[in-house]
Symmetry: C2
DNA sequence: AGCCTCTTGTGAACTGATGCACAAGGTGTC
DNA sequence: GACACCTTGTGCATCAGTTCACAAGAGGCT
């Protein structure tokens, strides 16, 4: 119904999964997909799929399902995947290099256009097609290349400084891998990916099960 | 109150953050920390800190705060961080190498003890101290080294097969980076870290702001 | 001792998300 | 045209998590 009414955060987080699920349907071929099928493809349940899609509009046909191509178009539209958002990787270490070398990002509209690193041996080099600059040039890079998203893969100690520099340069979207809390103005969106924490959550459940197993 | 009553999932996910925040307090020195301070250190709000900690027990002192060392001990206890959970990295590519080379995991009780890869050139080599084996040896590795957690950093196509092999070997905790849905028995916990999806969520908000900006 | 100040622990309201269950509405068949 | 059969869209109940607000307790000061 609502062509662009507020979309719940939880729904936004699932739209990319639906889009990925729709890759199972060849482009150009007319095909319909039911909420049940799409639920399987995205790893969620069917009721959620229908409720999520209803936030975008009523694009399904009762008794039939959704037109795969049209649905793909609508979700793409809602997510704004037609846009290309250039990314700068800050900290070209082990993780930064893996990210820069990853093709999956460019494919989805997030090309890594530049990197920074404080190591003099790395500055000025080009790694996997990505030029590495000094951290001080960050503001310049952002302006010159129209960077929209900053990735922080520096050591934890340098993360806050890097975030500050990104914000100062006008970047409002940050993905950080540093295991530390970052502060930034409210209008800046920070997504923190903390792998050690993920492992600790797995560890908690293992620990729990072990205790439950004894008796 | 409840020494080990069910701890809400959302709380479990934050306990590692509190533990990290407590690193700001030197070991061996008696210090108290208030829910306000800890909230800052962990990047959440104070009410949440208090409610979360109340699930572990009443370890605070009204009017004073929490004893930092004792609190650290109690959270560690709840999370079971005294345990060491050996990890196997499946897929020693760009990402797998970064993970294997990362010291932060070993420090927290998650040593990467082995890896697998299907590339004949990599099998038999040792990368950053981690021996690389053929995928077929996975079951053997798990049993021999007591692997508790499997990390999937293979291409998406190989992810399900790798998950199946892990499950067959008795691994019940999996962290996957492959952009695909994995199916496994209910008792297996899978945490899927999907970086492209994270970027798309950032992209959605950028897109939204851009639309709102025009008028 | 009495009082003041501080911070915890928690009941209760609120918010957001989930999942059920079914009417509404479309397709195809007889 | 009527009927049988699907699958969507959604109202509603439920659940988990968050936030508020304050009484209960602890320490310190006079
Ligand atoms: N490697 C992993 O698998 C992994 C896993 C989880 C978390 N992390 C986190 O990601 C971050 C990076 O990890 P890594 O393994 O790549 O570390 P790394 O040490 O290999 O790389 C860090 C890089 O950042 C550079 N750097 C330092 N200060 C900088 C600055 N001010 N500006 C720009 N660059 C700077 C260093 O020169 C180095 O090249 C760390 O915070 C780490 O805790 C890494
Ligand atoms: N590199 C990144 O920054 C990044 C970011 C997001 C997601 N991912 C995902 O993580 C996964 C790995 O990414 P990558 O960049 O390291 O890819 P990569 O191609 O560099 O590495 C994949 C490795 O897996 C090995 N492999 C293939 N089949 C295997 C099997 N059956 N068993 C064991 N090993 C096997 C390959 O030989 C290769 O070494 C992919 O699914 C990718 O989509 C990577």
């Amino acid at each position: 119904m609502a062509p662009l009414g507020r979309i719940p955060e939880a729904t936004v987080a699932r739209l990319p999964l639906y889009l990925r699920g729709l890759d199972a349907f060849p482009v150009g071929v007319t095909a319909t997909v039911s909420s049940d099928e799409l639920a399987d493809l995205a790893g969620v349940n069917a009721a959620k799929v229908r409720k999520d899609l209803s936030h975008l509009g009523t694009y399904g046909t009762r008794g039939v399902g959704y037109d795969a191509a049209f649905l793909r178009f609508q979700i793409s539209q809602a997510l704004g995947v037609a846009n290309v958002w250039p990314v700068v990787v800050c900290g070209m270490g082990n993780l930064g290099r893996a990210l820069a070398n990853h093709t999956g990002f460019t494919d989805r509209g997030f090309p890594v256009v530049a990197a920074t690193d404080s190591d003099p041996d790395k500055i000025g080099t080009v790694v996997d097609g990505v030029p590495v600059h000094a951290p001080g040039e960050l503001g310049d890079i952002v302006r010159r290349l129209g960077v929209a998203i900053g990735v922080i893969s520096t050591p934890a100690e340098a993360a806050q400084g890097t975030a500050d520099a990104l914000v100062a340069a006008g970047v409002t979207s940050i993905m950080s891998f540093a295991p530390t809390v970052l502060s930034a103005p409210d209008e800046v969106e920070i997504r923190s990916v903390d792998l050690a924490t993920e492992l600790q959550i797995l560890g908690f459940h293992l620990h729990r099960d072990r205790i439950a197993g004894d008796s």
